[in-house]
């Protein structure tokens, strides 16, 4: 019996033009949670795909319980007790939890599938882990976190012993993260080994036992979490010491740039924005915090003119304005970088240049005349300002890393010269180096008098970058915190506050 449940030795894998993995080692013990850490492009996903049988390495070998195994396909991986929970969940939304768990191996009854037995069995498994989900609910009605738990239960039902979790918390709220961690700890007590991929340092320190760092496809180091610290890990990932991570030395003024009163999305059913009022000062970074589903993004979409039938008053620099659509908002100098850049932002098949200039076409296209020189100039200006790394302006935007895609997105909106810049989750899916650069750019912008609204689900980001923080709960603002009082506790208190004084619940 080997000391390790899983051992990957000397794994190398290359793609045309890139060495994705070079001689990488990784060991997982039974009952441990072992983080895999690295910037985007460091080779984490490639390593996981090798483990999952999707890629075949040119060199290296994989041992389970000390025996060498060859994993040539997804089925081999499953037979060896390996389960991977991807960032994008692969459950069927319009089927029940039980149907999803037993997909493809439904228990047979007299007439086709024995639904009663299936539901009962599924419920037993769910209860076993205290998931708190009914087996006959539809997946689409569950929160992302609950769906993730169903995925875990499904994986365990395949007798999985090695569980890979790829950024499981990227889209779930703090409270649910804790429930997820409880389940993970429960699993390890049963001897399962968990490979945990995450960008969030705080989570690694909270839940992981050991951490392996990859950089540029090579193995850097493995440390015991208890014997390391955040700065050390960051320096391992980036390959240099990051002197400052959060940069914030601007001074916000007290002038009110944007004043929104009684914003309401006008929806009778499933209203996400009930009554939101707030003020934005010139040159400040105004944080918007709250649980996922609190209505922060939806509020900004109302202000940006994307929600038909939304109500409320908006004053920009003291003047009442009427924003009927996004074009109106842009003309007034409001810009919004949406939350989900894959879904709401990028034109994937198009070039960096196309993606950079789509909001400012009027600056270089006029009556069948395209001023290509001007277009190249604008694109280059924002590539330089944002420090976007791209081989050329013609590069297809999908081929950039997440951080660089985000920089293209922010650059696109900066090109409209906004007075008010709304950033919805500006660093989601962005690696550490690029994160620090984005913070620096935000700080720089506020010095130039741009006022920023930053929606973020990452508390450290909110705490370290905001001048003030509004907290929302279920479509209402539950409070505003000044910089000196911002803390995890004060935010979480407001984020779970049921009702507020003075606001009416429609």
């Amino acid at each position: 019996m080997s000391e390790y449940l899983l051992e990957m030795k000397g794994i190398s894998k290359s793609f045309p033009g890139v060495k994705a993995l070079q001689n990488v080692n990784y060991q997982l013990k039974a009952g441990e949670i072992h983080a895999l850490l690295g910037e985007n492009g460091a080779g984490k996903s490639t390593l996981i795909k090798v483990l999952g049988g999707i890629y075949h390495p040119e060199e290296g070998s994989i041992f389970i319980d000390g025996n060498e195994v060859s994993i040539n396909g997804v089925n081999d991986a499953r037979d060896n007790g390996i389960s991977i929970i991807h960032q994008e969940l692969v459950l069927v939304p319009r089927m029940t939890v039980a149907e999803n768990i037993f997909l493809g191996r439904e228990p047979k009854g007299a007439f086709g599938v024995d639904k009663i037995k299936m539901t009962a069995d599924a419920q037993k498994m769910l209860d076993n882990f205290n998931v708190g989900v009914d087996a006959d609910m539809e997946i689409a009605d569950l929160t992302i976190a609950k769906q993730q738990m169903v995925e875990i239960v499904k994986a365990i039902s395949f007798n999985c012993r090695i569980l890979v979790m790829d950024e499981p918390t990227s889209s779930i709220a703090e409270k649910e993260v804790n429930a997820l961690f409880d389940i993970m700890r429960d699993l390890t007590s049963r001897g399962v080994g968990i490979i945990y991929i995450s960008h969030k340092m705080s989570e690694i320190f909270e839940v992981c036992d050991r951490v392996t760092v990859l950089r540029d496809g090579t193995y850097v180091d493995t440390c015991e979490v208890a014997q390391t610290n955040r700065d050390h890990l960051v320096s391992l990932m980036v390959g240099r010491e990051l002197d400052k991570y959060y940069v914030r030395d601007h001074v916000a003024s007290k002038d009110v740039v944007l004043k929104c009163t009684h914003i309401n999305d006008g929806k009778k059913l499933h209203s996400r924005v009930k009554d939101v009022s707030f003020e934005l000062h010139r040159g400040e970074i105004l944080g918007f915090s709250g649980l996922v589903g609190a209505g922060r993004s939806e509020t900004m979409q109302c202000i940006f003119g994307l929600t038909k039938g939304s109500k409320g008053e908006i004053e920009l620099e003291g003047k009442k304005v009427n924003i009927r659509n996004a074009v109106d908002a842009m003309k007034l100098g409001i810009a919004m970088v949406p939350e989900d850049r894959k879904l709401e932002g990028l034109y994937h098949v198009q070039s960096v240049r196309f993606n950079s200039t789509i909001e400012v076409l009027h600056e270089f296209i006029n009556h069948f005349y395209v001023n290509l020189g001007r277009e190249i100039e604008i694109t280059q200006e924002y590539i330089d300002k944002m420090h976007t790394k791209t081989p050329s302006q013609e590069q297809t935007v999908t081929n950039l890393s997440g951080g660089n895609q985000q920089k293209v997105m922010i650059g696109r909106w900066m090109a409209t010269h906004p007075k008010v810049l709304i950033l919805d989750e500006p660093t989601r899916g962005v690696d550490v180096g690029a994160k620090a650069e984005i913070y620096e750019i935000m700080n720089e912008l506020t010095k130039q008098g741009v006022s920023i609204i930053m929606i973020s689900s990452e508390l450290p980001e909110i705490i370290n970058m905001s001048d003030r923080v509004y907290v929302m709960y279920e479509g209402n603002v539950t409070g505003c915190i000044d910089q000196k009082d911002i803390s995890q506790e004060s935010i979480m208190h407001l984020a779970t506050l049921e009702t507020t004084g003075g606001t009416t619940n429609a």
Binding site: P338, E344, F354
Partner: protein, 323 residues
């Protein structure tokens, strides 16, 4: 500026290398092949190929934009029939001047395009369904109006658009050239042209970009209808009659030309330059198979295989590029 143009031409060759080779290969083959050597590269035959390709290029210009938008327009074949019989009927049965009849035919195509655009942008019914329905409606209107019989019209003024000449060049070739240039300017040199790529590439992102999605869809489908109307009267003029079978299968030739030309059915990318080559490939293929004396039933099979091969080669090339 000159340097940019040079770069553009270079890129055009690079992007369309696969289908350009296919096109040149077909020309060389037909020139060498003993049976077609004497006839294929004569000015007469070249003009013949172009004349027959003209209506397909008109349709394909509209179709390229529709497909970049992520849609499809199945109704263009039926609009050809409808606009043809309307134009001929107006002249023959109602005694209108030829020019008025032809314009009415084009207008009927535009109206149908506006109808498609309205339905697609206002109701959110998928373009496939909307144009499948309007395909049937337009075809039905053509048959009801014409009584199912060709409406013959032989006057010189009528024949000019499809069978006439401007100097030494056939009129439809001139029309085709103008349509192509206008389409290229529209798609590549206007803001709404960019918006077509944006909406087709990612509709949600386009909404966040403040692009009026319904306006873009409306304009594109209207343009496709207009092109089908123009193609319809051109064909009716060339055949000396408005016939309700004249556009049968035309939508498929147009879609084939667009796809062979490298426009992705997934939307968001594609170029009219590629479509032009696609139209020529299909035109030469039809012409070559006729010259070689191949039975028309077999021609369908050959055409199908060539379309698959051309698209597949491009598919492999693009996948290699991406990896």
């Amino acid at each position: 500026m000159l340097e940019q143009t040079g770069k553009g031409i270079k890129r055009y060759f690079k992007d369309n290398l696969g289908i350009l080779i296919a096109l040149i290969g077909m020309v060389v083959f037909l020139y060498i092949w003993p049976k077609t050597h004497a006839t294929f590269l004569t000015p007469n035959n070249i003009f013949n190929v172009l004349r027959q390709s003209a209506s397909n290029l008109m349709l394909a210009c509209g179709m390229t934009m529709v497909i970049i938008l992520g849609g499809i327009d199945l109704s263009v074949g039926s609009i050809i029939a409808m606009s043809g019989v309307f134009a001929a009927g107006a002249v023959v049965w109602h005694g209108m001047p030829e020019i008025v009849g032809l314009l009415l035919g084009i207008l009927s195509g535009l109206l149908f395009g506006l109808f498609n655009g309205f339905m697609i942008s206002m109701t959110k019914i998928p373009p496939f369904i909307v144009t499948l329905a309007s395909m049937n409606i337009a075809k039905g209107i053509a048959q009801v109006y014409s009584g199912g019989k060709p409406i013959r019209c032989m006057t010189d003024a009528w024949k000019f658009l499809g069978a006439g000449y401007v100097g030494p060049i056939p009129t439809p070739v001139v029309t085709m050239f103008i349509v192509f240039v206008v389409s290229v300017l529209f798609l590549n040199r206007t803001r709404i042209g960019r918006h077509i790529y944006a909406v087709g590439g990612n509709e949600t992102a386009a909404r966040f970009s403040g692009i009026s999605i319904s306006k873009v869809k409306f304009v594109v489908f209207a343009f496709s209808g207009l092109m089908a109307g123009l193609a319809g009267v051109t064909i009716a003029s060339r055949l000396y009659s408005g016939t309700c079978t004249s556009g049968d299968g035309a939508e498929m030739d147009a879609i084939a030309a667009v796809v062979v030309g490298g426009t992705s059915m997934a939307g968001g990318s594609g170029r009219l330059g590629g479509t032009l080559i696609g139209v020529l490939i299909i035109g030469i293929l039809n012409n070559g198979l006729n010259l070689m004396g191949i039975n028309s039933n077999w021609q369908y099979i050959v055409k199908g295989v060539v379309i698959l091969a051309a698209v597949y080669i491009d598919f492999i090339r693009n996948n290699k590029k991406a990896a």
